[in-house]
């Protein structure tokens, strides 16, 4: 089982891809997902995180099968 990682808007451009699948082995929280996917590049300031489509903090636990998304501040309406 894997973790699905999604990037939106300017974070998609920063990451260079819209999504990826990641092995859940050794992943404890959302920030671990970012660190592994982005090879240690720091999370850009203001980045928002969602775990399973709900807003979450960087230390929110992540398990196999979860969907973790990274995106910039929202600008709808």
């Amino acid at each position: 089982m894997t973790i699905t990682v999604l990037y939106f808007a300017s974070l998609r451009e920063f990451a260079g891809r819209p999504r990826e699948d990641m092995d859940a082995e050794g992943i404890r929280c959302a920030l671990d997902v970012w660190r592994r996917a982005q090879e240690g590049r720091p999370l850009p300031p203001g980045t928002l995180i969602a775990v399973n489509q709900e807003y979450a903090a960087a230390d929110h636990p992540v398990r196999e099968g979860d969907e973790v998304a990274f995106f910039p501040p929202v600008t709808g309406g």
Partner: protein
């Protein structure tokens, strides 16, 4: 309560009339409506077009949650939220929020609450295309209160 995400043109007034006709006549005494429309200027630049990106699934859930929060906070007969996604041009409607209640206070306040919550929490992102052809992400919202 109804939530619509539209990849095609949003016709706010037709959508509003259609929805209001589905409500029982006489159950509400107040309808408060907000319609947001795309400008042809932003931060001193002329804007040619805009693309609205969203997070399929989460965006709908956030809008539903915001609508439910409003219904818990005020005595509302109904709530309608409609939002565009995809490519839009100046003059195109972007968002429609409507709240129906027995009396005006609840409708006014709920409409305002939903709109402000949508701006700060619903995962949408605007990318502008300037007249010069340059593209840029809109980095934040203008204050609403």
């Amino acid at each position: 309560m109804a939530v619509h995400l539209l990849a095609e043109a949003l016709e706010p007034w037709e959508t509003l009339i259609r929805h209001q006709q589905s409500l029982a006549a006489g159950c509400f005494g107040a309808t408060a409506v907000f319609v947001g429309t795309m400008r042809d200027f932003n931060e001193g630049d002329d804007i040619q077009a805009m693309t609205l990106e969203h997070y399929p699934g989460m965006t709908e859930r956030q809008l539903e949650t915001i609508g439910q929060e409003a219904r818990r906070q005020w005595p509302l007969e109904d709530v309608l939220i409609a939002h565009r996604v995809g490519r839009i041009h100046p003059g195109d409607p972007i968002v429609l929020v409507a709240a129906w209640s027995a009396h005006r206070q609840a409708a006014f306040e709920a409409c305002r609450f939903i709109m402000e919550a949508l701006k700060s929490r619903a995962p949408f992102w605007k990318q502008e295309r300037l007249q010069s052809g340059q593209q840029r992400w809109v980095s934040g919202n203008t204050p609403g209160m």
